[in-house]
């Protein structure tokens, strides 16, 4: 397979990771370090990798900071280094290394203050950051899948496979982040139950695959444990991260997030090897010992030709043996323990590999890459050196013990404490939902470990966190400056805060901080282990609900007509509705003027279907509504409607609409389009929680009906022509009444209500009959010059009438008295929701904001959102304009509704209007601005 790194063509083998292929090609330097631009090479072979981060691909499909250690090689893969200028191996930033003494933890707190951080920020930001974010929209898809199971097994190593073998009927999910099952055993040559692990694994997987209700997921990492056994699992690389497949195969999403609900979780997550800490332990060529072994056994790649091993536990001896068996020069094993277990010794003796007990690396040599190591011989106490020797080598494989991967245990609320024996965090007690097993549970135990940190050397060059360039000296400084809590140490030094979240540094940080503070590591706690365990693509978290599917748009039953008849569709709350119907070449303002004129001078047709509609049935329906509305509904006759306002308990206006009594035990209320769901929920809450003894049933029916408003002088004529079979005269069918009728052979419910101030009917027909009815009405109104009108025209027309638009003219503090409905509240004897609050001192202050009308200067403009100041006022603002427009007929005078301090006392006054630096004046007037007597309404 061919691939490129920084433009250089290379080749590798199928099944390789990018890191393995680069190693095989002799590429030693993969990145530069974060602060000091030191060269860095492959350090591990898994998700814990701190160094080998590369940018994959380019353009919209680029992936920043991909871990070369877990990136599958594919034909044509393009990888780029993310740091180093002008070149990765010849980096001018290297100069920063000389600044190392000065760039200690938190140095930026102490500098860059003059003349201000902003001056330096740009260069600091450019120097920071890792990869580059794509700037074009992501062409790939993502999805979320939900899953339920009895047992979730995290990790598909031997321990995980064993844990997944459960009695039939048990619903099991097993997730493994790697490309294959078996964990270490898949490649380490071990035997299980007397047979080679690989055959055991094959059989185990086959058996699980064949079991009903068992699901196995590869390349899937459990990344977060949430409440009550909800685990997020991130499935990667469902298809190659190359260009889109041309063969038209199934279009899989790029990644998935599985949300697993599990009764029990087994953590068989294994352990991650920890490094040793000594001077210049960051040189390319220093690798984790088990990783060196894995590269060899799994990918056939040697991390070097002349290899030195250094360890503080038994596990590195297997690496030494394997490297030696592969014909590589294994110079010897430095073991920081004074006594090396006999078994390890014997194994080395067999291969004539030197073992140096009580020894560990104290420094490395090299220019760019590793060329040699100095091994120090520890004194009996381990705290000083007795001597040492130098070795030439091109790889140094280190093991500082193993750290069980218990992040999910901690996220689940399990407590972890540092155990000296393993030098890692261990569970303090059991957890009811989560059980660690296998290597994660330290089972079998790794045994006591030896020294991990070299006792001598320049601590400024002993790296603890490779990714964030944190050294032992930084930890020392933090303690010296009294940042002693592990959380402060983390935040000051940034140790453990980078993309690997301290997977190869956290135990050492705790150990070193404890030593510096002179306390037990177990007493320190540990920085919070947060989700995600490994970073998760944001697309996978969002799933399919991106772009057009981000939020559902609701469409009226008449939508198809609107869409094909020039409607400008806009979002109004969740609804996508016609703002207006544009004619070719017509500007928004002109369309608005034409539509409002059509209604005032002729007749308009308006789609009011989104209007909320709720039916209430039952003997107590009317009594129930009477408790919710400020209006007295007790005497409302069947067949009649009333405008009503409902309040929150604080007395502020929640919503408005009409209440209609259809029959003694059957009411219908309408709500504003935006609040329909809220009002329904509000009613249910009061009924279920407060007044369960009231007998009624509440049914939202918004979706059932298409609602078409016919407004304008000829409205009656239009309905008659459309074939409505009832008496429409004012005597028979007055304003605020409701009738049922047949329209073209279908039942219809007709409300005589008006939001425009014109004679107006709302025709309700079953949704599927909506378009037909709409067209019938258009046809019937043709002679009268009927025109469809959009939401904007309607809002303008109601403004002229001074009708309230809840949410525009009111906010969450507006009480009825502020908008002229105080009297109604006072007159109503019965209690209603919010009533008690209306007499709180705050709600009866004379200087509250009140709704008034404004008349603007001719030819001028009253800007919505402009603020008002009363003559002689001291306060910065006395209110603001909530809605504005122009009168439809005549001179087009600017008019507005406004909330003004003590507003109704100021009719006739002139206020100044302030808008983004411009200033005009307006006269405070009493609305409405049109048809004050309501002659048109009652026509």
């Amino acid at each position: 397979m061919r691939f490129r790194f920084d433009g250089v063509p290379l080749s590798g083998q199928a099944g390789d990771t990018l890191a393995a292929a680069l190693l095989a090609n002799g590429v030693r330097i993969l990145s530069r370090s974060f602060k000091f631009h030191r060269p860095r090479g492959v350090f591990s072979c898994g998700v814990e990798e701190p160094n080998a981060l590369v940018q994959l691909g380019s353009g919209a499909r680029a992936i920043p900071s991909a871990r070369a250690t877990i990136t599958r090689l594919h034909e044509g893969l393009e990888a780029f280094s993310q740091s180093g200028w002008p070149r990765l191996d010849w980096d001018l930033g290297r100069a920063a290394d000389w600044l190392l003494p000065f760039l200690a933890a938190g140095f930026y707190n102490k500098t860059f203050k003059w003349p201000g951080w902003r001056r330096y920020e740009g260069s600091v930001r450019r120097a920071a950051g890792l990869g580059r974010a794509p700037i074009d929209a992501d062409p790939d898809g993502y999805e979320v899948r939900n899953l339920h199971c009895d047992t979730l097994v995290v990790g598909g190593g031997i321990a995980g496979l064993q844990a997944a073998m459960l009695p039939p009927g048990e619903r099991v999910v097993l997730v493994e982040q790697d490309e294959q099952f078996g964990g270490c055993a898949a490649w380490d040559g071990s035997a299980i139950d007397g047979r080679p692990a690989s055959s055991w694994i094959g059989a185990a997987v086959a058996r699980l695959v064949g079991t009903a209700d068992v699901r196995l997921l590869l390349r899937s990492t459990a990344v977060g444990f949430y409440e009550q056994g909800v685990i997020a699992v991130h499935e990667r690389s469902l298809r190659p991260d190359g260009p889109e497949r041309a063969d038209g195969g199934p279009r899989l999403p790029r990644e998935r997030l599985w949300i697993v609900r599990a009764r029990r979780t087994v953590l068989a997550t294994g352990a991650i090897e920890q490094p040793l800490i000594f001077c210049n332990n960051d040189r390319p060529g220093v690798v984790l010992a088990a990783s060196a072994r894995q590269y060899l056994r799994r990918h056939g790649v040697a991390v070097g030709r002349r290899i030195v091993l250094a360890t503080n536990n038994d596990s590195a001896y297997a690496t030494a043996g394997d490297l030696h068996a592969a014909g590589l020069a294994v110079i010897g094993v430095a073991d920081s323990r004074p006594e090396v277990p006999g078994g390890c010794r014997a194994a080395m003796l067999e291969r004539s590999i030197a073992v140096w007990p009580g020894a560990m690396p104290v420094n490395t040599r090299g220019f760019g890459v590793l060329t040699g190591v100095r091994i120090g011989v520890l004194s009996r106490t381990g705290n000083t050196l007795q001597g040492g020797f130098d070795l030439a080598c091109d790889a140094l494989a280190v093991s500082g013990g193993w750290s069980g991967q218990l992040q999910l245990f901690s996220q689940a609320g399990g407590r972890l404490v540092y155990a000296d024996t393993s030098g890692a965090l261990r569970p303090e007690c059991e957890h009811p939902l989560v059980r660690p097993v296998g290597a994660a549970a330290d089972d079998p135990p790794a045994g006591a470990i030896g020294r991990r940190v070299a006792p001598v050397g320049d601590t400024r060059r002993q790296w603890v966190d490779l990714r964030n360039d944190v050294t032992v000296a930084d930890l020392e400084l933090a303690i010296r400056e009294n940042y002693t809590s592990v959380e402060h140490v983390k935040r000051l030094t940034t140790a453990g805060m980078s993309v690997d979240q301290g997977k190869t540094s956290q135990p050492a940080v705790i150990e070193i901080v404890a030593r510096l503070r002179g306390c037990e590591p177990s007493s320190l706690g540990h920085p919070t282990l947060r989700p995600p365990y490994t970073p998760v693509t944001m697309g996978a978290l969002a799933g399919a609900e991106r772009g057009p599917l981000y939020a559902p748009a609701r469409l009226s039953p008449l939508h198809e007509w609107h869409a094909s008849n020039g409607a400008e569709l806009e979002d109004y709350g969740p609804w996508r509705r016609p703002a207006h119907y544009a004619r070719p070449g017509e500007a928004r303002a002109d369309a608005l003027a034409r539509e409002t004129r059509a209604v005032r001078t002729r007749v308009g047709l308006f789609d009011a279907s989104p209007l909320g509609k709720i039916e209430l049935h039952g003997p107590d329906a009317r009594a129930f509504l009477d408790r919710l509305y400020i209006n007295d509904l007790s005497k409302l006759e069947p067949g009649r409607s009333r405008y009503g306002i409902m309040l929150r308990e604080t007395g502020s206006i929640l919503d408005d609409g009409t209440v209609t009594v259809l029959s003694p035990e059957h009411c219908l209320v309408t709500t504003t389009s935006a609040n329909a769901a809220r009002v329904h929920a509000w009613m249910e809450e009061w009924h279920q929680c407060e007044w369960p003894h009231l007998h009624l049933a509440i049914t939202p029916v918004t979706e059932q009906w298409a609602t078409i408003a016919v407004a304008g002088g000829p409205a009656r004529e239009v309905l008659r022509r459309a074939g409505l079979d009832i008496d429409l005269s004012s005597e028979a069918f007055p304003h605020l009444a409701v009738r049922t009728a047949m329209l073209r052979g279908r039942p219809a419910r007709i409300h005589r209500v008006s939001f425009t101030g014109e004679l107006s009917y709302e025709v309700n027909v079953p949704a599927e009959a909506g378009i037909e009815a709409w067209q019938a009405l258009l046809e019937a109104g043709e002679d009268a010059g009927i025109e469809p009108v959009g939401v904007e025209a309607l809002l303008r027309l109601r403004l002229e009438k001074g009708y309230l638009h809840v949410g525009t003219d009111t906010d969450a503090t507006t009480v009825p008295a502020d908008v002229g409905w105080g009297g109604v509240c006072e007159r109503k004897r019965a209690d209603f929701v919010g009533k008690r609050s209306l007499t709180l001192p705050e709600n009866i202050r004379a200087d509250r904001l009140q709704l008034v009308g404004l008349a603007g200067p001719d030819g001028g403009e009253l800007p919505i959102g402009g603020h008002l100041r009363l003559p002689g006022s001291e306060s910065p603002t006395d209110g603001w304009i909530t809605s504005a427009g122009r009168v439809t007929l005549g001179d087009g005078q600017p008019i507005a509704l406004a909330m003004l301090r003590g507003g109704r006392q100021h009719y006739g006054a002139r206020v100044s209007v302030h808008d983004l630096g411009r200033r005009t004046t307006a006269e405070v007037v009493r609305p409405p601005f049109f048809d004050v007597e309501g002659a048109r309404l009652h026509a």
Partner: protein, 417 residues
Amino acid sequence: MRPAQRYSVVNVLLQGLARNRGWKPAWRAAEPRPAYDVVIVGGGGHGLATAYYLARHHGIGRVAVLEKKWIGGGNSGRNTQVTRSNYFHPESCAFFDRSLRLYETLGQELNFNIMLSQRGVLTLAASNHELELQRRWANAIRMNGVDSEMLDRAQVLALVPALSAHSRFPIVGGFIQRRGGISRHDAVVWGFARAASALGVDIVQDCEVTGIDIKGGAARGVRTSRGAIASDRIVMCAAGHATELARETGIRLPITTMSLQAMVTEPVKPVLDTVVISAVAHAYVSQSSRGEIVIGGAADIYNSYAQRGSLSVMRATVAAALELFPSFSRLRLMRQWAGAVDITPDTSPIMGLTPVSGLYINCGWGTGGYKAIPAGGETMAYTVAHDRPHPLIRRFGLERFSTGALLDEGAAAGVAH
């Protein structure tokens, strides 16, 4: 008085040559003393700033800040650092602008770089209606003498090109406060601690206040996990834990403690130079100086002291961030966390006296009290020193919840930040 050891380039160089061995503790590790003039409960930004200003402006040096864990471990060390003063009501605007002004010189005053980056806070509008409401808001801010500009769609896209990719909701415009921006939360906490400590304030960590002693309607002292401490002036700055702290004193608070989450991506090279907020897509997004994209959104929906965030709310927040910046979908989220925030019914803070004499309260910052830290400390210090509310915080008193004179910033704080 200033910290004995200045933080400066010269000292960084000198100390660097001396292997950084000469740096002194940023703040003293203090043991609690038996009595103080003022005891402050809570070592968050507000507690520490109050201590600093008490010592600095009012000469009260026998002050202790008692912190149950480690300073800044509450919300002050886990917020998304948005600093702005574009509040709707004159009282809020005046207070928060005072805070922003203090922030503008805080780095120098504390001799600690707080990394204030006044890169602009842009609030997007997705519909004409939203734009109209923003205009009302922008004008309110201007009427209060604070900068604020309306931008049209083209101006928004010119400022933040990454917003231009196609998504569900349009961008019709927005408004910006250019003096708004971000700063470094830990630095603010540490800077105040260091400066306060240098003025004699004792900062006592791992010291949980378990009760407040009241006799004859007056505060007498506190009981702590490290013994009793006498003081007749006690300031409660316990944020999400305010209810629990006050419960024993008989003061019942209008506070709900909830989880507010934030999250960061892996660091990337600079792609976003402005703080972007949207109400329709409930998220706000900025990029830190280390390069992470920092994302916040709405609070989780139920009471919680857990300091952990719900998966569903986190997913909704990520989806909202991607609605704004579709191209970020390939970035990876690196860490998700949450704080226990103290939410009031009107989303305005509570500051001032309490019915118990000598007991003062500072809480209710909810999702937005980081930006208030300097002014919160300054005005609380005044309030404690004079036993009457500082003029800037008169409207923020606890009494307003008995008169009903709420100060609803719901509109201004529509998105948590």
